[in-house]
């Protein structure tokens, strides 16, 4: 449900990074979403496609890159990848792990025509 306010933030970031007379040239925005960030990519695109209609870039597309959830074991230094958010090392079973990626929500590229 918070995809609507996330989408509003994305629109504001686009407006801050593109000069006003070039806003209509924005045709794509690339977003990186971690797998346990709590964001539904389809829902985010749905919200963006509605909210962009009130902007100069009403035909812009949103592309979402899913970033896998990865933890690094502090003991054996093995990286464990999963989609569940569980922080147990798959090799040694240790729970003393650091999250490397998978919780982020970033805007990385704005493409202009």
């Amino acid at each position: 449900m918070h995809e609507l306010s996330i989408s509003q933030n994305i629109i504001e970031i686009i407006k801050e990074n593109v000069t006003e007379n070039e806003l209509s040239k924005v045709n794509k925005v690339i977003i990186e979403i971690g797998e346990v960030s709590g964001i539904l990519p389809d829902s985010l695109i749905f919200c963006f496609d509605i909210m962009k209609l009130d902007t100069p870039f009403s035909s812009a597309k949103m592309e979402i890159k899913n970033i896998p959830f990865v933890v690094l074991c502090n003991k054996c230094k093995t990286e464990t990848k999963n989609t569940t958010g569980i922080r147990i090392c798959e090799k040694c079973g240790n729970t003393d792990t650091e999250i490397i990626s998978g919780t982020e929500m970033k805007i990385t590229e704005i493409e202009l025509n």
């Binding site: 990074n17 569980i86 970033k106």
Partner: protein
Amino acid sequence: MSVITIERKILEKNYEIANENRKFFKSKKLKVINILSSPGSGKTSILEKLIEELKGKIKIAVIEGDVQTDFDAQRIEKCKVPVVQIVTNGGCHLDAGLVRDALKNLNLDGIDLLIIENVGNLVCPAGYDLGEDFKIVIHSTTEGDDKPLKYPKMFINSQILIINKIDLLEYVNCNIEELKKNALAINPKLRIFETSCFTGQGMSQLCEWLIQLVINN
């Protein structure tokens, strides 16, 4: 065609305001906790109990967040502590800006601890930094034992887990060891309390933790 490469967190605006809030809280020597849970797990009931037990020991103020109504603020008002209600009108979480605005209507002179009760929702509030010192997630036994696995972000981002309605354990389908195991698999550093607002079980431990938090400020 040209590409503007940026590397910006989508919620960085919220984070900036949260940092302003943090500075404000520090200047007031306030400790701040953000209480999160699904609706009906006992956030307001725990608050009422805490306020009662901490009377004369810690001075508390409360920010209440709900989608509609000021029912919770009315309940807290009866406990005779400063309270302000944020009504989000459909919004599913509090953000740092809403808290900043609410602070203008709250007299924090002499207050040791500000408790923010977030909108009841186990998803969205997890992603929003309000400037708090701790996020506390409440999980009641009536919710079963699998929620940490189903809603991992809430448990990743919290530092404290309160397992509430512990008195109902024998009547509900919740294996408490499984619940703890699931929560610690998601966040091994979670500190866990077990409470019941009905019997009062666990409240003294939770109060003691809050007192130490304020003393060490």
